[in-house]
Structure formats: C-alpha cells, structure tokens
C-alpha cells in the first residue's frame, strides 16, 4: 500500500490565504505564494487551492496565483471555487491547474460532472463534498462554501458523483473543520464503502493519532489546513509517521 498523500489545503480570499472554522470567518494568515512554495519544498504531495468567495462574487482569483506558482512548483495542483461551466474549467487548466474541484455546480447542474469528465478526463475532476452531520452515520452535502444545505445525503451523492465520472472525492467534515478535534472517520468509512474512487479526507486534523487511524483505514489522501498553516505540524513530521 503506498503512502497516504498529504495535501495542504489553502483557502484563498482575493490574494490572501485565510483560515475558516466550520467554513465561516475569514481570518487572514498570509501570502499564499510563499506558503505554497514552502510546502512544496517540504515535500507536500499535492496542493489544493479553494477560492472561498468565488461563489459569492462570481469570479475565481486563484487562477492568477497558480499561474505564477506553476512555474516553480512541480507537483499536482488542484483548484476549486465557483467553477460553473466548461469555460471556467478550461481557464483553470490553462492557468496551470492539473485537477479541478467542483461542488455547487456539480449538484445544481445535472450533467456538469459528466460533461467535465468527458471533456477533460475523469482523472482531472475532483468532486468536493462538504459534509454536515445530521445524526449518527448521516450527513448532508452543503453547497456555496458550507452556507446552504443541498438536501442531498452525502453517501448517495458520492455514489452518484462517482458514476457521473468524478475521478476523486474531496470529503470535508464541516463540523470538524478548523477545530483540530480529529478527522471524521465515520464519514470516511461510510463513503468509501460505497465508492471505488480515491477519497481525500479533510476537516479537523489535529493529532498524530489521526495519522495512525488514517493508515489503518486506508485513507487515500489527507487534506490539511490549519494544522499546517499554524505550524502545529510539519509535513516532514507527518510523513515520518506514515
């Protein structure tokens, strides 16, 4: 079994790296370029950039950031936030993205995922699912950056998304996001039991125990933000434990 991929998640607002809690708030951390290059030098496996307000303002600023970054950083870069059309997707790829992450548009537009994977190939399409716990072993998929309930059950939606051609799932626990209280492994297990595509699990990473559990449960990849941005852990430390 190959090692779990460690993917720093960078939430971007305009030109700043920000950190949310439960996907709310806009606390500024710093310059995403510097921070991303630092992660690259410290052996991050991939980078994930999400424009936190693209769906509010109808524009994605991350393309400018990765345009520059991709000249110096040679690991896979995934970009998401407000991607609503094939054109939006194309402009992200042209800026240097290797994969794109879609959430709201995938849920609202019936054939969006199908069309994206036909046009660009499944391997470059990640469906991002923000999950909020409703009751034991039940989660709902939220859209518009954790602001609105789509009404869809996460497990059902994951299955459908995989069928529609998504290559990977970015699965984030809204409840744990920004709290460091640990990843939601119940969420992971429930979804991975139903889909065959790789799952990137995120939201709440806070201790090395999370790593041990992730290894045991065969999590494919981890998306980590606060724990890395606030230097509670370094990528090197994390990879040593794996």
């Amino acid at each position: 079994m190959s090692k779990i991929r460690i993917i720093p998640r960078m939430d971007i607002k305009n030109s700043n790296l920000v950190k949310t809690i439960k996907l709310d708030g806009l606390r500024v951390i710093g310059d995403p370029n510097k921070i991303a290059i630092n992660y690259y030098n410290n052996l991050a496996d991939e980078l994930l950039f999400l424009d936190t307000v693209a769906s509010l303002y109808g524009r994605n600023n991350v393309s400018q950031i990765i345009s520059e970054l991709s000249k110096n950083v040679f690991i896979p870069i995934t970009v998401g936030g407000g991607i609503r059309s094939l054109n939006d997707a194309l402009s992200m790829f042209k800026s240097g993205a290797d994969k794109i992450a879609v959430n709201t548009a995938a849920i609202k537009k019936k054939n969006f995922l199908n069309n994206l994977s036909k046009e660009f190939g499944s391997q470059s399409i990640v469906t991002s699912i923000d999950a909020k716990k409703i009751e034991n072993k039940k989660w709902r998929a939220f859209i518009n950056n954790g602001r609105e309930d789509s009404g869809l059950d996460v497990i059902e939606w994951s299955k459908r998304a995989a069928d529609k051609g998504a290559g990977e799932i970015l699965l984030t626990s809204i409840d744990n996001e920004g709290t460091y209280k640990g990843l939601d492994f119940d969420l992971f297990n429930s979804v991975s039991a139903q889909v065959k595509i790789p799952i990137i699990l995120g939201g709440g990473f806070g201790s090395l125990e999370d790593l041990a559990k992730a290894k045991k449960m065969n999590v494919d990849a981890l998306s980590i933000s606060g724990a890395l941005h606030y230097k509670k852990f370094s990528i090197k430390n994390i990879k040593k434990k794996l």
Partner: protein, 207 residues
Amino acid sequence: MKKKIISIIDYGVGNILSLSRAVEFNGYKVRFVNNPEDILCSNTIILPGVGAFKRGMEKIKEKNLYEAIIETSNKGTPILGICLGMQMLAGESQEFGKSKGFNLIDGKIKLMRLNKPNKTPFIGWKKILVNKTTNVDFSINKNDSFYFIHSYHFECERKKDMTGFVTYGDKKITAIVCKDNIYGYQFHPEKSGKSGLKILKYFLDLK
C-alpha cells in the same frame, strides 16, 4: 543556457503547460509541434498524454502525426512518452477493445489488477526500482518518489525493456521503458517535484 529546443507534441490531449514549464525550468526552450513537418525536423521529442488510449491514438491520426513519429524514431531521434504517451509506444491496448499503438517497444497495455486496498486509477507517489539488467543510469536515489495516475499499465514483451518498475505487493508494474532512443515514463516527471525534474533532465540532456 543550453540551446537545444525540445519539441512537445500538442495533439489536444494532456497538460502541456506544466510539462513545458518543467522543461524550461531545466534550462531548455520549448516549442509545441502539431504537424508532420515540424516533427520530422525536431531533434528531441516528448509525447505527453492523459486519458484513454484509443482517443489518444485517434487524435494522433487526426493530425496526421503517426508516420512522422515512426519515421523520426527510426532516425534515432530521442523520443520520450509520458503517461499515456508512454503507453502509446506499445503494440496494442486492451482498453475498449483492441487498439493499435506505435509499436516502438514490444508490449501490451492492460488494465492494472491490484490487490486491495489499492484502487484504480492509482493516484499517488511511488518509489521506482531499477531493473538490474539495464545499463541505463537514471541516477534515481532511494528516496526519490514519483507521481503516478493511471489505471492501465505497460506489460513489456521483453523484460529488459522494463527499465524501471514499481511494486504493489508482489506485483511489478512498469514505470520506465527504454529501448535505444525510445524512452517512456509512466509517471509525470513534471509533477514529481524535484525528483521528477531531475529524471526529466536526464532525458533532455541526451545527445
């Protein structure tokens, strides 16, 4: 600053932007080629590609590049196939029924059947082991790992063509092929960090 210009075949498949940046980062100039004439006068060629074998070959033929590539390889021009590009160097693929490749290295493209918990497509980083019988030195360190994303793999007809491989348990999957002037990397050197840049440079530096 080395003057050699690297030709990257642009046939509408694959992220050539990252690849060109990686080549430039290594100090070389890039030009994108998409017609037979330009291919024939190239002195180093990279064939990129992602996705389905059949579609890739169709696109090559649409642009009328098939013969030009065969002819160029016969001249001894170094050619590097990356990911799907490497797979297209094979004789045939079994994806979506049989499709023919360039047949520059004997072999077949088959679906990877990995044991659990490995999934396909395989997405992730692996260390590459070098075939002991090979005399090519890629200078791969034991700590280098490379980024792979694929569901199909290249099953070489001749073991010695499988210059580098990765292991999944007791299974060996081809990572690097090499025969004379024809090279193939299953992984993405332009996405494999510093190790990737280095192994890409190995090919770029070939005379």
